[in-house]
């Protein structure tokens, strides 16, 4: 078991600072919208109020010394090196899914996605391929056959026209 590192107050402060900065940008953009007459009834009314509150509460969280009240597997600790690796790989898979789904089609992309997902979960290649194949067929049956939804077919439509 590798050591996990605890979330520090400084890191919470940096995160709140970033959130507050986004809030400030939102408020700046909101101020460009018409506040309406009577004041607040225009399309900028609520965004201005909400933006100001965002900045105020964001600044409050940033300025005071935030202390974590819990340190467990989820709250107050960062994942270990192995966890970080899995996280980055999963996010890369997600980006790959969006990039490939129109070209390869939803069913084929899902199949490939699940193989690598299973590999991240330490399944053997054989198990990963079998499980992904069965799940892909089930998912295809559920969405395309049962719910009658059209999913991007991609290159698979030229290979297997009935899909």
């Amino acid at each position: 078991m590798q050591a996990t590192t605890r979330v520090t107050s400084r890191q919470v402060r940096i995160a709140s600072g970033i959130i507050t900065a986004i809030g400030a940008f939102y408020t700046w953009q909101a101020l460009k919208l018409p506040a309406g007459d009577p004041l607040g009834s225009g399309k900028g009314g609520v965004p201005i109020i909400v933006g100001i509150l965002w900045v105020i509460f964001g600044a409050l969280v940033t300025v005071r010394t935030p202390k974590m009240s819990v340190y467990d597997e989820e709250v107050g600790t960062w994942p270990d090196a192995e966890g970080k690796k899995r996280l980055v790989l999963t996010l890369a898979l997600c980006v790959g899914f969006v990039a490939l789904m129109n070209t390869l089609g939803m069913t084929l992309t899902s199949f490939i996605f699940m193989i690598f997902m299973a590999r991240i979960c330490e399944a053997s290649w054989r198990k990963a391929i079998i499980a992904s194949l069965i799940t892909s067929i089930c998912v295809w049956l559920l969405f395309v056959h049962f719910l009658q939804l059209s999913l991007p077919a991609g290159i698979i439509s030229s290979m297997l026209p009935w899909v």
């Binding site: 919470v12 809030g23 004041l39 225009g42 909400v50 989820e74 799940t135």
Partner: protein, 505 residues
Amino acid sequence: MDILNGMLGGFAVALQPVNIMAALVGALVGTATGILPGLGVLGAMAILLPITLHFSAVTGLIMLAGIYYGAMYGGSTTAILLKIPGESGSIVTTIDGYEFARKGRSGSALMICAVGSFIAGTVSILGLSLFTPLLTDVALKFSSPEFCLLAVLGGISLVRITGRDPIKNMLMLVIGIALSTIGVDAVGGDTRFAFGSESLTLGFDLVPVALGLYGVSELLQVLITKGGFPRAESVRLRDMVPTRAEWARAWPAIVRGSGIGFLIGLLPGPGSLTSTFASYGVEKALAREHKSEFGRGAVEGFAGPEAANNAVSTSALVPVLSLGIPFTPNVALLLGALVVQGIQPGPLLLSQHPDIVWGLLASMYIGNIALLILNLPLVGIWVRLLHVPQYILISGIFIISIIGTYTLRGSAWDLAVLFGCGLIGFLFRRLEFDMAPLVLGTVLGPIFEKSLRETLFLSGGDLSIFISRPISAVLVALCGVALVAPSLFSWVKRRGRAGNVARTA
């Protein structure tokens, strides 16, 4: 008589084969996802929400509600067998339920919880059937100032009562409302904050936001945890019959828990956690002979809270069905599903769509019976679900979430929001930011904005309208109470403790 007629009409809807199937599938799928400790009720609902939207409004809602109470029910199984609360309402169950199971009575504990959940659910549905039309009559007198204040009250209650840090919660609520303002303005139809981008014009739909923050972030959490989903021992059916003495102690606690849960569910705020702690407190206070058993496996210690938890999940639907205002993120998702289906929630829902409201209520009776009949014999299978290899569960749930989200609008933007929110939810949780206010904010945001702007038009910008109307004046007072009361309580508690310390010194 109206209620009886409504209920009969509801059963006519709920007993249609497709709706019976929807209730059954929802309840079973909900139980399955409730059992997986990585996924809470909200995660389970969020993952399956996109699929329910492909059915008619009433069928989809029946299925989603089934997932909701099924997951509540499933949450207790892992609380008892593994000491892992499937959702916040099962936290109290882990105390005595798990200890009771460790004495070799896990089957009996599951049976008591199942029967308790059924009784509480049925009592609460009866209450829901009676209260919803009554409150709808009152709500018809409400106008935009009242709805605006109800939205504020819902937000404040959640912010002040859940989590440890109200300022962080407030920040999350405000961000949720801000997200709801991006894209097409619900009042005027203009776009805001789009910067010429087609994707931003689509805005942040509730489904990818909630599914990302709860479903995907929880999957990421399970994924990075080396052990994955935990394992439990199997339970045999014949071990599930409680003894006479256990029943005698359980049923009064179940009845009390049902009452407490129902009443707390009507109030704004996170009823699930509050009601279970309230029920536990009441049972502990009332216990005479078995007081010392609390914390070490007292039957009342999990029978009462589990009943309260199930009652609250049903009665929390009263404000949604009669007012169109959700007070918890779970029911906010139900409300969101209605909106996505093109149905305007609010006091007119009952008169305009009686089939939906009464059909939903009637289906809940059916779902509850189905849960009791199916889940007890199936408990062995449910427990075995935890033995399904992690790689199959995670990749399967992931892909259903992705395709489900995509099919809603056929937009890759929603997938980007889904993954982005998944990562944000994962990181925010580590930094101890609660996601519940953010999800509630995205649902309350449009209600708040629409009603506030209408109020300002109505009054010509005069804010005194909020206190000059009797109902809104009461709501302003309630907002004040919700804002101040928790601080006041903890101040009184601290003073009491300081007084005790001074006296002993």
